[in-house]
Amino acid sequence: MANLKDHLGRPVVAVTGIGVVTSLGIGKADNWAALTSGQSGIHPITRFPIDHLNTQMAGTVDFLESSSKGAAALTYELAESAAREAIEEAGFNEDDFGGPLFLASPPVELDWHDRLALFEAADEETSNNRVLSAARRLNSPEVFESTQFGSIADRLAETFGTTGLPITLSTACASGATAIQLGVEAIRRGECERALAIGADGSATAEALIRFSLLSALSTNSGPPSKASKPFSKDRDGFVLAEGSAALVLESLESALARGAEVLGILRGCGEKSDDFHRTRSKPDGSPAIGAVKAALADAGLSEDEIGYVNAHGTSTPENDKMEYLSLSTVFGERIKSIPVSSNKSMIGHTLSAAGAIEAAFSLMTMREGVIPPTINYDNPDPAIDLDVVPNVKRVAQVNTVLSNSFGFGGQNTCLVMAREPV
C-alpha cells in the first residue's frame, strides 16, 4: 500500500491525466512517436511575412483552426485541446472537472490587425488617441476579451467546469512549471482533491519574434530549420520560438486510488529561487538556479543521488546552456556525467509560457514508457559542457525520477521533481 502522505506529512500528489500539443502534433501519442524518433517540429515561418527578419523559422502550431486568428484565440485553443485530452484520460466529466484551474499563458495584447482596424475606423484625422476614439464603437466582444488577461482562463473555466476563480500566471519561461507548482500546493494545503494545471502559448507573432530577436535571444541559423535548435552544442546560437500546450490533471494520490484511476506519475517536489542579478542574465555563480534545484529536491525528500534523468531547460542559447550546466554540475558533482540530461527543445523549440508544462508531461512519459527522448542536432559538442545529452537518438532506460528545469527572464527559476511510482 502506497503512502498517501509525503515525508512532510502532506498529501502525495499524483498525475492522472496528461494532454499535449506541440508543433509535432496534437495529443500524446503523436508527440511521443515524433519526439522519440528524433523528429523536429521546427519549420520555415509561413504565418506572417519574413521580410526584414533575421530569424525565419519557428515551431509554430499551424494546424489548428485558430492558428491564423491571433495569439489569444490560438492560446485558448491550444489550452483547450490539451485540457480535454488530460481530463478525458483522468476520467472526469469534460464539463464538470470540479477542481481549480491554474493557467500559464503569455501576457495578452491587442493584435496588430485589430489595432489597424481601429485606426482605420476612427474619425479623427491625427491624434495619439485616435485608436482609442474608435474603441467603443467596435462592439466586438472577441476583440475586447483578447485584451483581458483573465479571459482565456475564464473561458476554460466555463468550458471545463473548474471551480473558483481561475488563476492566470506568468513567470516568463518558467510559467508552465509554476502552474503545476500552484496546483500541487493547493492539493497539499487540502484546498482541493484535484487541480487542472495548463501551460499554453500561441503567441508567436511577428512582434514577439522581433522582440526576442532585438534581445539577441533567437537563433539566426540559416540552414535547415530542423537543425537550428541545438542545445549544448558548441555552435548553438539562440533559441527557436515555438508554440504548444500541455495540461496535467493533478490529484491527491488518495483520491486517485479511491476512484481506481490510473496513476501516471507522482509530482514529488517543486522548488524555486529568484535571481536579483539582471533582467535577462543569471547571476554568474549560478546560485539561484542551484538553489531552485536544491529546493525541489528537498521538497521532494530526495537526495542528489536519487535523480535518474534531467529534462533540461536546454534552450540552445549560449548563456542558458552554460549556466544550466554550471548549476547541474554544482548540485550533482561528478555524478552529473553519468545522469542522462536531454532537451526536448532541440525538437519542439522553446514554447515559452508552455515549456515547463510540456516538458513535465514529456518527463512523466519518459518514466512511463522507459524511453528517454534525445537531444537532436548534437553534432558539435561543446567541450565546456560535459554532459550525457542522450545525443541524437532516443535511449531505452528505466527512469524512476526526473528533475525538470525551467528558467526565465526576470530571474525566474522553477524546478520540478517527478517520480514514476508512489512510495
Partner: protein, 396 residues
C-alpha cells in the same frame, strides 16, 4: 489567535493622492479634499494621474530606472515603501527568503512607434511587411522587458533583493484577489512565513484606457462619484494610476521580530460568478457569507469600479446589510485594476490601525460610520469578471 494568523506589517501606497500611509490617510479623511481628476488628457474620459514622484527615493540606480517604464517604476516604488514600512528594506537575510506575489497586467507600449506604423500604413498595401520593417528598426530593444508582466516582480527582486520566490498573477482585479488569497493561504499552511504581495496600474497611456473601452466600460462626460454613475454617459469606470503592496507575515514571525502589526487578514473569498446567467448577486452574497463579517457595524472598503452591472450588484448587497457602511475609494483614486484589491486591504488595515473610519466619499450614497472599526470588509468586484472579498480585523 494562532501562530500562523496572517498579519499585515507593511503597507506601501501610491496613487493620485500621493505616496505613503500618512498622505493617504490625510487626503482620505479630509473634509473637503481637492479632486485629482484630470479630464483634459483623454477627453471624453477622465483619469486620476500620478503626482510628481521622485523615483530615486526607492529606485536609486539610474540604470534600473532606465530599464523601466512608469508601470514598473510605480510597482517597484510601492513595494519599496511597504518593505521600508515593515522594517525589511535592506535586511538581506529576510528579503532573500521572502516570497513575492505580484498582480500584473502588461507594461506600456511605445506609442510613438505604434503611431508611426499606423500612419505609414495609409500609404502602403503590405501592412505585415511594414510591421516587420518598422518594428525591427524602431523598437528599443529593452522595451520588451519593460512590458513583460512578470518583469515588475523581476524588478522588485533586482532593486529590493526580494528573492525567496516570485510569482506573477494576471487577470485584472481577479489577479489581485488571487495574489492576496494565495499569499494568505501559504502563510496559514506554513508554506511561507513572510510575503510581499501587491500590484500596480499605470493608466496614463491610451492603450490602458483602450482595454476598458473596447467594451464601453469607461465613464464619458462629467465626473461623478462611483455610486452615482448608473445614469451617466458611458460605462461608469474612471481609472487611476496607483500601486499597493503589503508585507504579510505569520503572527509568530512578526512577533518574533517585534514588529508593529497593522491588522490581521481573516477569511479571503474569491469567485468567478457566471454573470451572463445572472448569478452575480447570489455569488456576491455567498462571498460575504464566506468571509463571516462579525456582528455590529463594519466598515466596507469597496473596490467598486463604477462599471454599471458590477457596481449595482455590490451596492445592493452592501446596502441590504444594515451593519455595513461602504466607502468606494475609487471615487478618490480612480480604478487601479490589478492593484484594486491590495489597495482595498491596505485602506482597511489603515482604518483599523488608526482607530477611525474614513468619512463618506460620497455623502449621498455612503452613510456615516462612528466609532473605532474593529473589522473592515475589503471588496473587489471585477468590472468585467471575477470577484473577491476579505475580512481585515484588529490585530489581537
Amino acid at each position: 489567535m494562532a501562530p500562523r494568523d496572517v498579519v499585515i506589517t507593511g503597507i506601501g501606497l501610491v496613487s493620485s493622492l500621493g505616496e505613503g500611509n500618512d498622505a493617504h490617510w490625510e487626503k482620505l479623511t479630509a473634509e473637503d479634499p481637492a479632486s485629482t481628476v484630470n479630464s483634459e488628457r483623454f477627453p471624453p474620459y477622465s483619469i486620476h494621474p500620478l503626482p510628481e514622484i521622485d523615483w530615486s527615493l526607492q529606485i536609486p540606480k539610474r540604470g534600473d530606472l532606465r530599464q523601466m517604464e512608469t508601470w514598473q517604476r510605480l510597482g517597484t516604488y510601492a513595494a519599496g515603501l511597504a518593505l521600508d514600512d515593515a522594517g525589511l528594506k535592506g535586511d538581506e537575510a529576510l528579503c532573500s527568503t521572502m516570497d513575492l506575489v505580484v498582480a500584473a497586467g502588461g507594461g506600456e507600449r511605445d506609442g510613438n512607434v505604434d503611431m508611426a506604423i499606423l500612419e505609414a500604413s495609409t500609404q502602403r498595401k503590405d501592412f505585415d511587411v511594414l510591421l516587420n520593417e518598422k518594428l525591427t528598426t524602431e523598437l528599443r530593444p529593452t522595451l520588451f522587458l519593460a512590458q513583460l508582466s512578470n518583469l515588475l516582480a523581476g524588478n522588485i527582486s533586482i532593486v529590493h533583493k526580494v528573492t525567496g520566490s516570485s510569482r506573477t498573477f494576471m487577470g485584472e482585479e481577479g489577479a489581485g484577489v488571487s495574489a492576496v488569497e494565495t499569499a494568505a493561504a501559504r502563510i496559514r499552511s506554513g508554506q511561507s512565513t513572510h510575503m510581499l504581495v501587491g500590484g500596480a496600474f499605470q493608466t496614463d497611456h491610451p492603450d490602458m484606457l483602450l482595454t476598458y473601452e473596447l467594451n464601453g466600460y469607461l465613464l464619458r462626460g462629467p465626473w461623478q462619484p462611483v455610486w452615482q454613475r448608473q445614469k451617466s454617459e458611458g460605462g461608469g469606470v474612471v481609472t487611476g494610476s496607483g500601486g499597493a503592496f503589503l508585507v504579510l507575515e505569520s503572527r509568530e514571525h512578526a512577533e518574533q521580530r517585534g514588529r508593529k502589526i497593522y491588522a490581521s487578514i481573516g477569511p479571503v473569498a474569491s469567485g468567478r460568478a457566471r454573470r451572463s446567467r445572472g448569478e452575480l448577486a447570489s455569488a456576491l452574497s455567498e462571498l460575504l457569507d464566506k468571509v463571516a463579517v462579525p456582528s455590529g457595524p463594519v466598515l466596507a472598503i469597496s473596490g467598486a469600479s463604477g462599471a454599471h452591472a458590477a457596481t449595482e450588484a455590490e451596492k445592493a448587497l452592501i446596502d441590504g446589510n444594515d451593519a455595513l457602511a461602504k466607502r468606494a475609494f475609487s471615487s478618490r483614486t480612480g480604478h487601479l485594476k490589478e492593484a484594486q484589491f491590495p489597495f482595498a486591504i491596505a485602506l482597511a488595515a489603515l482604518a483599523i490601525d488608526r482607530g477611525a473610519a474614513y468619512p463618506s466619499f460620497d455623502a449621498d450614497s455612503e452613510k456615516p460610520f462612528t466609532g473605532k472599526p474593529q473589522a473592515a470588509l475589503a471588496t473587489a468586484v471585477g468590472y468585467h469578471q471575477f470577484e473577491g472579498m476579505a475580512l481585515v480585523t484588529a490585530p489581537a
